[in-house]
């Protein structure tokens, strides 16, 4: 793949709409995760097998992360955080399949994820504190901070989007450049590093989404930790 990852390539036209490969790959990921989940959760038992143990480990780890950030029942946030993590991880690792470009290497996907997180933050905040309560949270620590808090809502969503896009796109970009300049096996170490980067970025995105939601649902909103770039 030597095309610029900044450009969208289209797979087919659906009536007047041109469907990009990003959407097609995302459908493939949906199919993979959906069928995989269905296959693995068909025969759940109280005495778990190896596959079920892995699933329970993943779900348990997600619950532990949620519980460590937001006290209380983790089930409220499990689906969103877990889906974000699994989707981004699978999307990042899809670059291992030859000819597949990860959907997260394109701004549309990252923007969609960031928008969902923004909407979820808004929704959870209003549900937890009410409209007025949530709006009041922008006045902390002083009403002078209202403009900055409003800008923060936008900028942190953008930072979420750009962080994921930049890391994944750069990885794909670097591998593409090296692949075009060097031999076939040279990019393999970089691809392995890309796997690690993909997992870390998925974890960071999910944790940051959790932190944003936590800041919205809790009265004393915790400050956003300085996220790794």
């Amino acid at each position: 793949m030597t095309d610029s990852p900044l450009d969208l390539t289209y797979a087919f036209n659906l009536g007047p709409f041109a469907i990009s490969w990003v959407v097609v790959v995302t459908w493939g990921i949906l199919l993979l995760l959906g069928l995989g989940s269905f296959a693995m959760t068909r025969r759940l038992a109280l005495r778990p097998g190896k596959g079920q143990a892995v699933l329970e480990l993943v779900v348990g780890a997600i619950d532990d992360q949620i519980r460590a950030t937001i006290p209380g029942d983790p089930a409220r946030f499990r689906t969103l955080i877990g889906t974000l993590f699994l989707f981004i991880l699978t999307a990042n690792w899809s670059s291992l399949v030859p000819g597949i470009e990860p959907p997260t290497a394109h701004l549309e996907t990252d923007a969609a994820l960031a928008l969902i997180v923004f909407a979820a933050t808004l929704g959870y905040g209003i549900r937890a504190q009410g409209v007025l309560g949530y709006l009041k949270s922008f006045t902390r620590p002083s009403w002078v901070m209202i403009p900055l808090n409003l800008v923060e809502q936008i900028t942190r969503t953008f930072s979420l989007m750009i962080r994921l896009f930049g890391n994944v796109m750069s990885g794909v970009f670097v591998i593409g450049i090296i692949l075009s300049l060097a031999g076939l096996l040279v990019p393999i170490p970089l691809m392995a590093l890309d796997l690690l980067t993909g997992a870390v970025q998925a974890y960071i995105f999910a944790i940051l989404a959790l932190v944003f939601i936590a800041s919205a649902v809790e009265d004393s909103a915790p400050q956003e930790k300085d996220p790794p770039s």
């Binding site: 959407v23 759940l44 109280l46 329970e56 499990r78 877990g82 989707f87 701004l107 969609a112 969902i116």
Partner: protein, 246 residues
């Protein structure tokens, strides 16, 4: 670089669809099974706690039952002891009564035996007396007078060996002993019978213990010729008969 709003919109839809899919097929079933397991664990723990509590209650009941049994055992032991004491007292009393009865029966029997023995003894004494009397009478001279005893004395002396007879008659202090004082007639008859023996001048003594009879006594011996001696001899003979007969 371009931003494709259609792709952006489709990706939002895709992520929301994935959210629904994973919620339905992954997170909910796995969370449910984890919750079920935890519920089972809690239920098992509750059951174990209940079983432990039940065991503790059963242990307490068993301990109470053991204590009750121990108390009942002590009661039974004390009751059995008192019953035993009463039984022993009754048995002792009965034994004493039985012993008294046996003693009374024995006394009665002894009395009866003694009476019977006395009767037997009396009967035997009577028989013995009759025997002694019969023998004594049969041994008496005929007639049983002083002359008869004199004649039997003479016959007795005559039956002795000569040496002994001579020693008897030649001894010092030869005398005749009668049971009663002899009348003149009896004295004359007696001396006439004893003249052949040279005793016609021998002095005559009286010894009532002879009962009846005439004996010759000297320093060398005596010739017993009296009813007393006969009775003694008969008694000794009867004693010997009894000793050898029994």
């Amino acid at each position: 670089m371009q931003f494709d709003w259609l792709t952006f919109g489709l990706q939002i839809v895709n992520v929301l669809v994935l959210l629904a899919i994973l919620r339905h097929f992954l997170f909910r079933p796995v969370a449910d099974i984890i919750a079920r397991r935890q519920a089972d664990i809690v239920a098992a723990q509750d059951a174990a706690d209940a079983a432990q509590a039940q065991a503790a209650r059963a242990e307490a009941v068993a301990r109470a039952e053991t204590d009750k049994i121990a108390i009942a055992r002590d009661d039974m032991l004390s009751r059995a002891q008192s019953d035993g004491e009463a039984q022993r007292a009754r048995l002792v009393q009965a034994a004493r009564a039985e012993a008294d009865r046996i003693i009374a029966d024995a006394r009665t029997e002894a009395t009866r035996i003694v009476d019977g023995a006395q009767a037997v003894t009396l009967r035997r004494a009577r028989d013995l007396a009759e025997t002694i009397a019969a023998r004594a009478l049969s041994d008496l001279p005929d007639p049983p007078t002083a002359a008869g005893f004199a004649r039997r004395l003479a016959a007795e002396l005559a039956s002795l060996p000569e040496a002994r007879r001579d020693a008897m008659l030649g001894g010092a202090d030869v005398r005749l002993v009668a049971s009663t004082a002899l009348t003149d007639g009896d004295l004359a008859t007696t001396r006439s019978v004893l003249i052949p023996l040279g005793l016609d001048h021998a002095p005559i003594e009286v010894d009532p213990t002879l009962i009846s009879g005439l004996e010759l006594r000297s320093s060398t011996g005596a010739i017993h010729n009296s009813l007393a001696h006969d009775l003694t001899r008969i008694s000794e003979a009867l004693d010997n008969d009894d000793g050898s007969g029994t």
